[in-house]
């Protein structure tokens, strides 16, 4: 082998690129990182805890740089001990700390399910208000990238039936930052869901400290004919489907739930009553999930205003397979939402 074999080809002269939008915009990941930074600065009693979050900055880079800024006491790496991570957060919260845990993949929450369901969520209630659990559990959820059965699940349904827990589920970088800051400020325990497919989404995220209220949905797009209620990745999909429907003359309103528990029933029901035609879009399996709850509630409370049945878009009733074409079958997509809108619009 000669030096010439390994030498790199000469680079072509590059024409200067036009500054792209994304240079000014922050990603969902950066927005979360910025929120954690601002919160660590604000709350002396806050610390971060999780697997590979310190030096490495987390599997998705959300805690990058925070170890250097805040030190190993407040940015703590742990072994693979999900129950101990959440237990540590609960105990620390009971004495007034404000821990933020990272569970690398939401699927692994099964490892600390007992801690969340039987302790964290009930702490305030069962001890008659004597303790609070102001902790946040951040976790990466959702499919669409070939992660297979144990790295792709949407876990909100696992917690929907658990009084005491708050489930926050942002759909864009601006909300991600504001909702994370509000979650950290909150004295209730928050399960903060970060859909993996959204990490690279970008927006102009205000650099300063701001909060987005918990328990408040947002009308992401106003419309008159059909309402789509969605959260996380289903929101950008719903917005795209709404755009397509507009081309067919159907005006779609998209309600971004933002907090899944306790959810903003007033906004959801007002939109349902206004349009009289509703689609609920949800990535998790259909049975017993968010879609089931929303559909039941809307049907009960807007019966008189509804023009037809609530149409549900969900994941199929199957685990999430590895093979991408198979995964595409199991998980709902923009086409499914578009079809549901057409079906609702018939009434």
């Amino acid at each position: 082998m000669t030096a010439a074999d390994t030498a790199r080809p000469a680079r072509k002269a590059r024409t200067p690129r036009k500054p792209r939008d994304r240079v000014r915009k922050a990603s969902f990941t950066q927005a979360l990182n910025n929120a954690l930074d601002l919160a660590m600065d604000k709350h002396a009693e806050m610390f971060l805890i999780g697997e590979d979050i310190a030096e490495m900055g987390g599997d998705f880079g959300v805690t990058k740089g925070l170890l250097a800024k805040y030190g190993p006491e407040r940015v703590r790496d742990t072994p693979l001990s999900e129950a101990a991570i959440i237990g540590t957060c609960a105990g620390a919260a009971m004495v007034g700390m404000r821990p933020v845990a990272e569970i690398m993949f939401a699927d692994f929450i099964a490892e600390c399910y007992d801690q969340v369901v039987n302790n964290v969520a009930k702490l305030h209630y069962m001890f008659d208000g004597q303790f609070k659990a102001p902790l946040v559990i951040r976790t990466a959820c959702g499919g669409g990238f070939g992660g297979g059965p144990h790295h792709s699940q949407s876990v909100e349904g696992w917690f929907l039936n658990v009084p005491g827990i708050v489930i926050v589920a942002p759909s864009n970088p601006i909300d991600a930052k504001g909702l994370l800051l509000a979650s950290i400020d909150s004295d209730d325990p928050v399960l903060f869901l970060e859909h993996k497919a959204l990490y690279r989404s970008r927006a102009e995220v205000p650099p300063e400290y701001y909060t987005t209220p918990l328990g408040a949905a947002a009308v992401a797009r106003e419309g008159a004919d059909v309402t789509v209620v969605a959260a996380m990745r289903m929101v950008p999909m719903a917005l795209e489907a709404a755009e397509r429907a507009a081309a067919d003359g159907v005006s779609v309103e998209v309600v971004d739930l933002r907090t899944i528990r306790p959810y903003d029933a007033a906004t959801v029901l007002a939109s349902a009553a206004k349009t009289g035609r509703v689609v609920v879009a949800n990535e998790a399996p259909r049975i017993g999930g968010l879609g089931a709850e929303l559909s039941a509630r809307i049907s009960e409370e807007c019966f008189a205003e509804l023009r037809g049945p609530v149409v549900r878009v969900d994941g199929l009733d199957a685990p999430i397979p590895f093979s991408v074409p198979l995964e595409d079958i199991v998980l709902p997509g923009t086409d499914d939402i578009a079809a549901a809108i057409s079906s609702a619009a018939q009434y």
Binding site: G91, A92, D114, H124, F127, Q130, D188
Partner: protein, 325 residues
């Protein structure tokens, strides 16, 4: 140990026994809802633990720790009757009756509550200890657990994390020989829990849990060790519970006889006090005094009102109200 200390522990052991026996009686009458687990036979270990824990320390009591809860409540709060009322599900209980036997807590006296999922607070105790360490407070966080808990993943996650972070945790493992019906040696790799714990590399000792002097001395030095910042400590108390299983007694007759007649911690305490010249009349008056106190607490619990109906949906969230029916 000074004789007044031993007398104090003897008094505490009697308070625990009278509490549990009074509770058993009321349970049978139908005045105490739910399930009943008692600490009968384990009074020496419980009195020793309660003695050394300050109100600013933290303990997580298990399902047999009514006695520790009551002692802490009485000593640091002056209102032990509120533990009794909690077990009756009454408004005057420490958790307004929302917790009961398996979830009585009062942070003002260091009681951070049981978790009826046995052993789950092996994880919670880490956070309390970590907070104390981060704040530079010389406080002990104590998890009181049964031998059955050794099978839980959290048991091992906790010991590992306490070891790597040098946390101020006192693990008090009450090895009474059985988890419901499972003998400790059949359920675990060793019938001596310390054999399994040693590998975690911190201070770890086996103690005669029915000898109040030995138990008190061991807890005292463990607490001192932890307060000095030397890291966690694990104590295994070898003892035996008088309560069998719900269906009744399942253990060999000779074993029952041995523990009840030869190893009763109160009897052993009385013998030790006798050797120090304390007379029978004084010992009897301690027993009667404890029984009187407990009858007053039971009276208090019986007469207390049920919780306000609003409590059913109060405090689900801090930031949201949950609507009632």
């Amino acid at each position: 140990m000074e004789t007044p200390t031993l007398l104090g522990l003897y008094r505490d052991m009697w308070l625990i026994r009278a509490f549990e026996q009074g509770l058993e009686r009321e349970f049978e009458k139908g005045n105490v809802p739910g399930m009943l687990h008692t600490g009968l036979g384990q009074e020496a270990t419980q009195a020793a633990l309660a003695w050394h824990l300050e109100a600013t320390d933290t303990f997580f009591p298990d399902h047999r720790c009514h006695g520790i809860n009551a002692l802490a409540q009485q000593r640091h709060g002056g209102n032990g009757e509120r533990i009794m009322a909690e077990l009756f599900g009454k408004a005057t209980g420490v958790c307004s009756g929302k917790g009961g036997s398996l979830h009585s807590a009062d942070p003002a006296v260091g009681n951070f509550g049981d978790n009826a999922v046995e052993g789950s607070y092996m994880a919670t105790v880490l956070g309390v200890a970590l907070a104390a360490k981060m704040r530079g407070q010389r406080r002990v966080a104590c998890a009181i657990i049964g031998d059955g808990t050794v099978g839980r993943g959290e048991f091992h996650e906790s010991l590992n994390m306490a070891a790597i972070w040098d946390l101020p945790v006192l693990y008090a493992c009450i090895n009474n020989g059985y988890a419901i019906s499972m003998p400790v040696g059949e359920g675990h790799a060793s019938a001596d829990i310390v054999d399994m714990v040693q590998g975690y590399g911190f201070e770890c000792r086996q103690v005669d849990g029915n000898d109040v002097v030995e138990a008190w001395t061991a807890v005292g030095s463990a607490v001192e060790h932890i307060r000095s910042g030397a890291g966690p400590c694990f104590l295994e108390f070898k003892t035996w519970r008088w309560q069998g299983i719900f269906a009744g007694e399942f253990r060999p007759e000779a074993e029952v006889k041995y523990w009840k007649e030869e190893r009763d911690p109160i009897m052993l305490g009385a013998e030790a006090l006798g050797e120090r010249g304390v007379d029978h009349a004084e010992l009897d008056s301690i027993e009667l005094g404890a029984r009187d106190v407990i009858e007053e607490w039971i009276e208090f619990a019986l007469e207390s009102p049920a919780p306000d109906p609003d409590k059913a949906t109060a405090d689900v969230y801090v930031g949201w109200e949950v609507s009632s029916r």
